[in-house]
Point group: C2
Chain length 426, copies 2
């Protein structure tokens, strides 16, 4: 089925700014609370939030096989379970409804009143209930930077890194949508030179610039997903900030991996941009440095050219850009990650989320964490207000942005915005 929703020539009758992340070619999916305190599944065009529950009730999805309440839910999990064919039908239909040439809804004031909201009338929620969240570690630049800092240049990459899209399980419960605050965590650390651990608020809170993909029900327990089918099971992507407390991490992570250093909060952007919408931005990924085992060999364009930016906004200050990266730098792509994740039969469900790992590019201004940008604090970053940052200060807001652009269209993810509150008093 063609993805007509991607037609770059299509224009909408809704007013949209020329540089919006949400042109009619995007049509992402999210969940919001309306001015009437009703929770619904919606999409966004320009600065309008569109209530898909209301659209469906008013008959605009006639002819598409959908249960009556599919959009009247507080998560997208069931809709995502319906599978790629349904996602496409719905997205194509939405594009038709809002097409400049289509008067059906445009001329129906009463319907529009029920369907259209301005952004300040809605409150974005988590788009899915994340059953399991996995985080990968798939940027070679990031793994090399961290490895160089901790083990020296010659042993930077672990022996398994070029053979395995290394990943580990994360915590679902503390995933929060953009706009919800995080809090500086307390924890145990072993200060340099100390002989006993100490307990206190983390001194080295960091962001990690990542993207995460959301899956549909992919496989039964025991059945792997082949690498060249893997993209069929990916619904879409969000921006992802994998908050990290570096001092807690350093003391706790051997031998079983990061735990409390990560699970105090992870933030995502609220609109899931579908993999379908991203098709025009597929590119070749980095060439494998070593031959990969056949189950990981991925053919064709499986990387995505998504510009990524990180900003820090001090309290009552202006935002300063601190990093400019791109999702295409990932050494291991999503298809390889999902194939690896399931090669042992591990089952993947609708609403599961898989993070890319920190996305660092080749140049120092493209690194995806303060750890790398300031090289463990050795080279602080100057913000536009003149203040310096080694890591993230109390009441700083960290903002991730992401967008794709070619000669025909620009579309993006909006923001993933999280303020870091001071630690609790104890």
């Amino acid at each position: 089925m063609p993805i007509t929703a991607n037609d770059p020539k299509r224009k909408t009758w809704l007013e949209t700014a020329p540089d919006t992340d949400f042109p009619i070619q995007n049509i992402p999916f999210g969940v919001f609370l309306t001015r009437d305190d009703i929770i619904t599944i919606g999409t966004r065009i320009g600065d309008y939030a569109i209530d898909l529950g209301a659209l469906h009730q008013l008959g605009y999805f006639k002819g598409i096989e959908l249960t009556d309440d599919i959009f009247l839910q507080d998560t997208l999990n069931d809709f995502i379970s319906d599978g790629r064919k349904t996602w496409r039908l719905v997205r194509n239909r939405i594009a038709e409804i809002f097409d400049k040439e289509n008067s059906e809804l445009r001329e129906n004031k009463d319907h529009r009143k029920h369907i259209l909201f301005t952004l300040d009338e809605v409150e974005m929620q988590l788009p899915v209930q994340v059953g399991d969240y996995t985080d990968f570690y798939s940027s070679k630049e990031h793994a090399t930077n961290v490895g160089t800092m901790f083990r020296g240049e010659d042993n930077a990459l672990m022996p398994n890194w070029l053979h395995i899209p290394v990943g580990y399980h994360g915590r679902s419960s503390s995933i929060i949508p953009s706009g919800i605050n995080a809090r500086r965590p307390w924890g145990q650390t072993m200060p340099d030179g100390a002989s006993e651990p100490v307990f206190g608020p983390s001194k080295l809170v960091d962001f990690e610039l990542e993207m995460a993909f959301i899956t549909t029900d992919a496989n039964a327990l025991g059945e792997p997903i082949p690498v060249n089918e893997a993209e069929e099971y990916i619904f879409g992507l969000v921006l992802f900030n994998d908050w990290s407390a570096r001092d807690i991490q350093k003391w706790e992570y051997v031998p079983l991996g990061p735990f409390l250093a990560k699970n105090f909060a992870s933030s995502i952007s609220p609109w899931i941009v579908t993999l379908d919408a991203l098709q025009p931005f597929k590119v070749e990924g980095p060439k494998p440095i070593m031959e990969q085992l056949p189950y990981l060999q991925s053919k064709g364009k499986k990387s995505y050219d998504i510009n990524l930016e990180v900003y820090i906004e001090p309290e009552n200050g202006e935002e300063s850009k601190v990093s400019t990266s791109n999702f295409k730098y990932m050494y291991w792509n999503m298809a390889q990650q999902l194939a690896h994740h399931t090669v042992n039969g591990c089952n993947v469900n609708s609403g599961d989320m898989m993070g890319s790992g920190t996305i660092s590019g080749p140049t120092p201004d493209s690194y995806g964490s303060m750890l790398e940008l300031t090289w463990r604090g050795a080279n602080p970053i100057k913000l536009s207000d003149g203040s310096e940052r080694k890591f993230i200060n109390d009441n700083d807001t960290v903002i991730l942005k992401g967008f794709c652009k070619n000669e025909n269209v620009r579309l993006g993810f909006g923001e993933c915005r999280t303020k870091l509150l001071p630690a609790n008093k104890m």
Copy 2:
């Protein structure tokens, strides 16, 4: 509120074997499918499964604040959310209903027909939808054994081990109830002496003898749970087999921890034995070897004397006991684990599951994995049929059992039974 359900003098009008794991003093909670294909929440006394949905509909819980459909669900999550006071009221009432002196249900044939099932009439399900599953690593004997094998006796325990109840996130989706088969996983391994990894079925599939506790909604994001309140948020425990592929684990786990080596399957016993029922079996835990930070200092009896056994049953063979351990050997107790898990503000929800880590005792016959019992395969175990095992063979069934016993009462967990099927053909 007193836990009258624990009264050791109470007898039931149901027929029960003297050595049953499920006397009227147990009253665990589970979920089962009935002969009429109805899913319901239930309990078990002797070899009877008791439909709590039917009991409630027939008015036996009058006076206890419960929603009408609280037991007509396919998971215990909502009931567990109701909190400890409700769990106690319900458990106490069940004990009354089945008390020998109470004729109310005993003499009502019609009601009994709707409420009582024999075990072969029901099919046990997962008792909870596990939102997040965490696995700890809290047996000093296990950590020491594994450390000795891989790093030598002098560096056996990692520097952080005596300071932190080390834990990591696991995979919820592949948690299966007793009776469901696991499958030998495929995966990447680096054979000894090889220079390139190979891909194939794991050659070293192992069990890990663990217990896991199930929590209720414990805290909001950002709010820690103090160690001395932690038990309030624990609903109950199950037996837990954390299946592990040692060869996959060895190659993948540095630096982010075990991943595909673990997430192909984890098995649990289907009846959650409440922490209330286990109160008579509280004991002091091992004395701390080093002073612990105040947030981890646990007062009083917070360990539980639960006898644990592991059996291997070859296809068409008899079961042979291969390990005899005890939950009381754990160095870090559940209260410490939960306090640590939340000290950074990580939020814990109803139905979350936390595994103990492999429970090894002080003697070689009390080790909780084949890795330790056979010392990496150096000392194979002989089964009663004369065959030997270094690790688990195809079509072997691994059975965990657990029970508590004092002068007054014996109660237990039944079995956690999982057959290991051969790897898929590829």
